[in-house]
C-alpha cells in the first residue's frame, strides 16, 4: 500500500548539462564544489558564472585540498578544467587528486529485492516503499572522495585539463600598464579557453559543458605581487582587484565556474582585502589551527580549523542564501575532509 496516491506528472525532457542542478532556492544553475558538506552550507553548490574566492589558511594546506576536490569533481562530471599555479607545477597538483568512492549500482538492486519484511524494527512503516529514487540526471551531483588513494590518471586525461604553470606565466606575459602582466596573460588564456571550448553564452552548441577554472595561490610573491603594494612601496597596486573584476565579467557571460585561492594574510594594507572580497561572489575563509594557540584549546579538540563564510552572492535576487548558523569548522580525517557546524562540547555538571 502506497502512502499516497499522488503521481508526478510525466517527466519533461530538459536538456541538462552533466554535473549541474538547479538550485532549490532560486533556480540558479549550480555545480558541486567537490565537498558535499560545503555544498550544503553555501546553498546547494557554486553558481555557474560566478567566482568563488577562498582565503587561504596560513600554510596553504587546506585551501590546496579544496582546490584538489574542485579539480577532482571536474574529472568526475566530465567538465573541462583549467588549472593554474604560480608556486608549483600544476601537474603536481593533478597527480595528488583524491580517488572517488564509486558505489556499485548493481549491488543496491539485489539488496532491495531480497529484503526481509521484518527488517526494520522501528521504521517498519517505510519498509514497502521503493528504495532510493534517482533523479533524472544520470551523473550524480557531488561525489565522495577517498584521500588515501590517488585518482586514476585516465579519468583526468579524458577531460583534457589545461595547465598553466609558472614557466608559462613567465614566458607569456608582456609589459602592461594597467595590470600586472601575469594577470593579464591569465585573463587572455581564460578568454581563449572559453571561446575555444564553446562555453560562452553567445555561442550555440548542442552539447553544453561547464568550464571549471581553478587558480592556486593567486597574489603570492611568485605572481610578482608585493602584497598589494606597487614597486615604489608607497602606492597601492590595484592589479589584483582589477583582475578579479575582469574575471567576473568573463564568468558572467560563460558557462564556467572559477575557484581562486588567495593568501590574504600576506596583504597588510587595510581595506585591500575588503576590495578583493567585493570583487568576488562567494568568499570563504579557512583559518587553520596549525601552529597557533588555538590548537591547544580543548573546545577545538576535534577540529583542524575554523571555516568562515565571509560573503554569499545575491544572484538575480534580492536576498542571498543564509545558512542557519555561521559557525563552521573543518576537520581532515584520514580519508575525507568535511566541514561541519562547530559543536562545543557539552558540560555535564557534577550534581
Amino acid at each position: 500500500m502506497a502512502t499516497t496516491s499522488f503521481q508526478k506528472k510525466a517527466r519533461v525532457k530538459i536538456n541538462q548539462i552533466a554535473g549541474t542542478k538547479p538550485s532549490l532556492f532560486n533556480n540558479q544553475l549550480l555545480v558541486s564544489s567537490g565537498v558535499p558538506s560545503l555544498d550544503n552550507i553555501i546553498g546547494g553548490g557554486l553558481a555557474v558564472g560566478t567566482v568563488c574566492l577562498v582565503e587561504e589558511d596560513t600554510y596553504g594546506n587546506y585551501s590546496r585540498l579544496l582546490l584538489k576536490y574542485f579539480s577532482a569533481e571536474a574529472a568526475m562530471t566530465g567538465h573541462s578544467l583549467v588549472l593554474t599555479s604560480g608556486d608549483q607545477d600544476p601537474s603536481q597538483i593533478l597527480k595528488e587528486l583524491p580517488a572517488p568512492i564509486i558505489d556499485d549500482p548493481g549491488e543496491i538492486n539485489t539488496a532491495n529485492s531480497a529484503e526481509q519484511p521484518e527488517n526494520m524494527k522501528i521504521a517498519w512503516r517505510y519498509q514497502h516503499l521503493p528504495g532510493n529514487q534517482l533523479g533524472h540526471s544520470s551523473s550524480k551531483f557531488g561525489h565522495y572522495y577517498d584521500l588515501t588513494k590517488v585518482m586514476d590518471p585516465q579519468l583526468l586525461t579524458s577531460i583534457k585539463p589545461v595547465l598553466i604553470g609558472p614557466e608559462d606565466l613567465e614566458r607569456g606575459c608582456n609589459q602592461c600598464q594597467e595590470l600586472n602582466p601575469k594577470y593579464k596573460y591569465l585573463l587572455t588564456r581564460i578568454q581563449k579557453e572559453i571561446e575555444q571550448g564553446g562555453h560562452s553564452t553567445t555561442q550555440h552548441t548542442d552539447k553544453r559543458n561547464i568550464l571549471r577554472i581553478a587558480v592556486h595561490s593567486l597574489g603570492s610573491p611568485q605572481w610578482d605581487e608585493c602584497g598589494g603594494l606597487d614597486l615604489s612601496h608607497e602606492d597601492t597596486d590595484f592589479s589584483l582587484p582589477r583582475f578579479l573584476l575582469a574575471l567576473r565579467v568573463l564568468m558572467r557571460s560563460a558557462f564556467a565556474v572559477c575557484l581562486i585561492t588567495i593568501p590574504t594574510h600576506l596583504f597588510q594594507i587595510p581595506g585591500y582585502v575588503g576590495r578583493l572580497r567585493k570583487m568576488c561572489d562567494t568568499v570563504l575563509l579557512m583559518e587553520s589551527f596549525a601552529g597557533s594557540d588555538k590548537e591547544k584549546n580543548p573546545a577545538f579538540k576535534e577540529y583542524h580549523g575554523l571555516f568562515h563564510i565571509v560573503q554569499l552572492p545575491r544572484l538575480n535576487s534580492l536576498l542571498s542564501h543564509m545558512p542557519d548558523t555561521l559557525d563552521f569548522a573543518f576537520k581532515l580525517r584520514r580519508k575525507k575532509f568535511t566541514i561541519e557546524k562547530l559543536h562545543l562540547l557539552s558540560e555535564l555538571s557534577n550534581t
Partner: protein
C-alpha cells in the same frame, strides 16, 4: 628538531635563518654548509654581505673540498661592471661556469645573506629568486637545498612575511634562556605532509660547526584543570533505567501497533 634539519633527516627545500644584531645566525649558517658538504656533491656559497669576509675566512680554514665560494660583496649592484656575482646575476649560469667536475648530481646553495637582495630589490624578486634556485631547470643537476641568512631587524614585517611564505623552514635566533648553551632558536618547519612544527630549542655548536646539546625550551603554562571524572547522568537516579537480559528479550517480542499479523488484520 634542529639537529634533524641540519643533518638532513628532515627534508626541507628552502631554509631561512633569521637573525638580529643581538643574536647572530652566521655560525648556524656555516653549520649547515658543513653538513651539506657531506651530503651533496657541491656546495656553493654566495656572499652578499659586507661582513661575509668572516664567513670566507672560516670556510677557508675548514678546508673542505667541495665548497665553492662566490664573493659578490665587493660590487653588489655591479656599478663597476665587474664580472662575477652581483645582485642581479643569474646564479645558475654562474654555478655552471664555476663547476669543477662535470656530471655532479646534487648541488646545495648557501646565501650569506639575503638582506642586501631584499633591500635593493623588491620582495617578490627575492621570493622568485629563492623559488627559482630550488628548481633544477637550467642546472643539469638537482638542487637539494637552499639555505639563506636574513637579518630580521633590517626589514619591515611585510617584506619578511612575503619571504616567510616562500620558505619551508624558518629559524629565528632568539636570546638564550639557559647559561649552559650558546645559541637558541625558534624553528617553524612546514613538513611536506602538511604538518607544521613550531619549537624553541637551545643548542651548542662545536669548533667544526656541528650541532650538539640540543634541548627544547619548554614553556611554562597554566594548565586548565581537567574534569577527569565525568558524571554519568544515568547514575545515582532513584529509578532504574537499565534492562536485564530477560527484559530485553521480552521487548523484542512485543508486536508493534498498526502491524498486520498473519490474517491481515490490524493490531
Amino acid at each position: 628538531m634542529i639537529g634533524d634539519i641540519v643533518s638532513g633527516s628532515e627534508t626541507s627545500k628552502i631554509i631561512l635563518i633569521e637573525d638580529s644584531i643581538d643574536n647572530s645566525g652566521r655560525s648556524l649558517l656555516l653549520s649547515y654548509a658543513v653538513s651539506l658538504s657531506q651530503r651533496v656533491d657541491e656546495v656553493h656559497i654566495l656572499l652578499f654581505d659586507v661582513r661575509s669576509q668572516d664567513t670566507y675566512e672560516a670556510v677557508k680554514s675548514l678546508g673542505i673540498q667541495n665548497i665553492r665560494v662566490h664573493d659578490g660583496s665587493k660590487d653588489l649592484l655591479q656599478w663597476n661592471k665587474t664580472p662575477g656575482l652581483g645582485l642581479h646575476t643569474d646564479v645558475k649560469t654562474l654555478i655552471l661556469r664555476g663547476r669543477v667536475s662535470p656530471g655532479t648530481k646534487s648541488v646545495a646553495i648557501v646565501i650569506d645573506s639575503l638582506s642586501p637582495l631584499l633591500t635593493h630589490t623588491s620582495p617578490p624578486y627575492t621570493c622568485k629568486t629563492l623559488h627559482g634556485l630550488i628548481s633544477s631547470e637550467d642546472l643539469e643537476s638537482q638542487v637539494l637545498q637552499v639555505v639563506s641568512l636574513l637579518h630580521g631587524d633590517l626589514h619591515d614585517d611585510h617584506s619578511l612575511s612575503l619571504v616567510h611564505h616562500t620558505c619551508t623552514t624558518i629559524q629565528k635566533m632568539v636570546p638564550v634562556t639557559t647559561p649552559l648553551t650558546m645559541y637558541c632558536c625558534n624553528t617553524l618547519h612546514k613538513k611536506v605532509s602538511g604538518k607544521v612544527i613550531r619549537i624553541t630549542e637551545n643548542f651548542n655548536l662545536l669548533e667544526d660547526f656541528r650541532v650538539m646539546d640540543v634541548s627544547e625550551v619548554k614553556q611554562v603554562t597554566k594548565s586548565i584543570p581537567q574534569d577527569s571524572n565525568e558524571m554519568d547522568p544515568t547514575a545515582n537516579l532513584p529509578f532504574n533505567l537499565s534492562l536485564s537480559d530477560k527484559e530485553k528479550e521480552a521487548r523484542s517480542q512485543v508486536i508493534l501497533p498498526y502491524t498486520y499479523n498473519k490474517e491481515r488484520t490490524l493490531y
